[in-house]
Symmetry: C2
Subunit: 437 residues, 2 copies
């Protein structure tokens, strides 16, 4: 391949794109050796407002263009690297790149979660590769294991702390006993949460990432809207207190399980045993536990976001695309929908539940509550009444159930709410009896 | 590729080979889909004594052969899977397979640690692949990350709990306060340690695995004999007690670090902070923390041994070899020795030390000891004298040093030993100030 080089076209000039451009430049020699030939940045597609960014100033001026046609018309580009983020216009750009016979590397979780299967089909049709390792978990290898390393396994479960912002907030709440609002404010102050944190705290980001992993792991199309989703904003300091007393901690988990012919996929806060490995993952770290029939439990952990870790995955995908181009390989995706697997509705799942409610502090109330659980065929494993406030004659009651069907629990909660003695269902959190490492 | 199939020749019929054969059979359909064509077991090379094993009984009799020439003469074999273990005759078999133009998959850590670089060269020469993911860490992806996922990184450190037997023994000692001999006996009873445990407890197994990972990560040939090695048999229950009091636990770590132009590579017991992630890895689990300039810290954890996890990696390598054969790709190894990196001798490393010794219980002794440390330019961070036995007038003294050079510490220990007041240097354990996750 002497004399040849691979041309890169970069889309976007945010922190990730800027970092990718810098690494391509600074590590040009070692990357050329690893890829098999030099990787040359040929063009960078930016928005007019990007031109004022510090990253733009560091770029040779001739590389930058704000014009789509100019970018896609550049004949020297072999690999298009998309680091714009968001659904549009990235989605249109990816289709245009693939249709134009370019190999594509993307860090875009939203586009892959929503349109990944279609884009893989398009890549196959045009004989090019579509790589998206950076779309999930920053630099932690999470796509490659499903595509390659764990390929011999029937995957039975994925349990993932896959959003650093929420894990940071929950870690501080757990450690310091502070409330959600205070922890969020701290996270924002330190740059771990955005000014508008809704994508993180409502589990939308985790939802996209789970859709991508579950689609790969189970060879079944799992769309973001197929995944039940609940955020962390309802969790209070006292939920952590009770969790600890009961031997648990609270994490936002993205869970996907295969049972029989159906798949469970959900993102919500869970009680997990405090001696489990995932319980020990603190701060902005991500950790993904995968269970397979041969491999048993494997866990992958690291920084799940940030420009540098994300660039690690983007560059690895670029190198791998370059190697394929040199070897003359086009699309190698083997993704195919396995037939007959359906997504189980949340109503049908069976798990344990933690329920915290406030009720009138008088004899007989607990019996009324227990009766409702019993009528709905939900066994109670423990009921504690840790606090009562004499002024308002209100008692707090915490109930842990045995495994029960979600539908029955939701019905019981509605019935409890209508009881005169029950003032408020303060929280209901599912319990995931994940084993320790 | 309709009508075509890939032929597998299996060498060995131990538990791993038996498991691989079973998976190839039971998952034939899904593996064919993932590989791109059927994977057919064509021949199994066994020893005469293997014929009596239960695995042999399950195999179609026509597949088994005890004859080398018959096995290597079989034209239908595309991929040779070696699961014999040990250096010989496996090494000769691998050379013969590669020279005969067969792709090779092996789980053999000893052969790869000792001869991997040479065998990769042979594979390149004959245009075939050599894959060895199963040689390190069972089903945990530990070779692929260095070859692919982390390729953009300059790796600065590898910190690995890579031997399940020793981690099981140390976990029990930590938790139950029992002595090494008792913990070893328990491990043997449960099948976690062999009757002759020397390969595990003396760190030989970990040494091979570190040699493989370090060679890949640093693109420098790191031979088993380049790696300083110390086992765990000298650790006593009281070392765990002091470790805990000082905020540490004890693990057998395989450590490889890159600093300047040289590489540190060593396997020995270490004190690590008890709030670090590796400290929380218990029982037979393996965990490998890798540090790279872009990715930061990533951790891979899982069962590092056993037939099923190991078969997960072997089959993944078979599938990947098959995909390459179908695509017409030969050798893709990009391993190349990076110039100018040397292995630092253990004498030259700088770290902190825990030293436990027994000395005469009388005034002035601690001063004598401290003087020797001082003369060797070793700063003491703490010295405690937790126990003294009045009958023998012996005091136990525990010293923690600031970072010091190994050579100076060894010299100080020899001088201490020659002191009349010092009865015995009971232990000296290095401290690795690995950060928490």
């Amino acid at each position: 391949m002497a004399g040849k080089s691979i041309g890169i076209g970069l889309m976007g000039l945010g922190v990730v794109a800027g970092q990718v451009a810098m690494v391509l430049q600074e590590k040009a020699d070692t990357l050329a050796e690893k890829a098999g030939c030099p990787l040359v940045l040929r063009r960078v597609k930016v928005l007019p407002e990007d031109l004022a960014r510090p990253q733009a100033k560091k770029m040779p001026a001739g590389l930058l263009t704000t014009d789509d046609d100019e970018f896609f018309g550049e004949r020297g580009i072999d690999i298009v690297v998309e680091a714009i983020g968001g659904e549009n216009p990235a989605y249109e750009y990816l289709k245009r790149a693939l249709s134009g016979g370019k190999h594509v590397v993307t860090s875009n979780k939203e586009v892959i979660a929503k349109h990944g299967v279609e884009l893989l089909g398009l890549a196959r049709k045009h004989g090019v590769g579509l790589q998206y390792e950076a779309s999930v978990g920053g630099g932690i290898p999470l796509i490659a294991p499903f595509k390659h390393d764990l390929v011999a396994n029937d995957i039975s479960g994925i349990f993932a702390i896959i959003n650093g912002t929420t894990n940071y907030i929950l870690s501080r709440m757990a450690r310091e006993g502070i409330d959600f609002a205070a922890a969020l404010k701290q996270a924002q102050k330190l740059g771990y949460a955005e000014a508008n944190p809704v994508n993180d705290i409502e589990g939308i980001d985790a939802n996209y990432k789970l859709a991508i992993m579950a689609t790969l792991a189970f060879q079944t199309r799992v769309r973001p809207e197929d995944i039940y989703r609940e955020g962390i904003s309802r969790i209070e300091a006292r939920d952590f207190r009770y969790a600890r007393e009961l031997g648990f901690t609270i994490k936002l988990l993205a869970i996907a399980k295969q049972c029989d012919a159906s798949i469970e996929a959900r993102v919500h806060p869970v009680f997990i045993p405090s001696d489990s490995f995932l319980a020990k993952v603190e701060g902005v770290y991500n950790a993904i536990q995968v269970e397979g029939d041969l491999v048993g439990k494997v866990l992958f952990m690291g920084e799940g976001a940030g420009a540098r870790p994300t660039s690690s995955a983007v560059i690895a995908d670029i190198v791998s695309s370059a190697r394929k181009i040199i070897l003359g390989i086009g699309s190698v995706s083997t993704w195919k929908a396995a037939s007959g697997k359906t997504i189980k509705p949340i109503d049908a799942i069976v798990t344990q539940y933690y329920v915290r409610l406030s009720a009138a502090d008088r004899p007989g109330v607990l019996a009324q509550i227990a009766t409702i659980f019993g009528n709905n065929k939900i066994s109670i494993s423990s009921a504690i009444q840790p606090e009562s406030e004499s002024r308002t004659k209100t008692a707090e009651i915490v109930i842990m159930t045995h495994p029960a069907r979600e539908k029955a629990v939701q019905k019981a909660l509605r019935e409890l709410e209508s009881l005169e003695a029950v003032k408020k269902i303060a929280n209901c959190i599912r319990v995931e009896d994940i084993e320790g490492g």
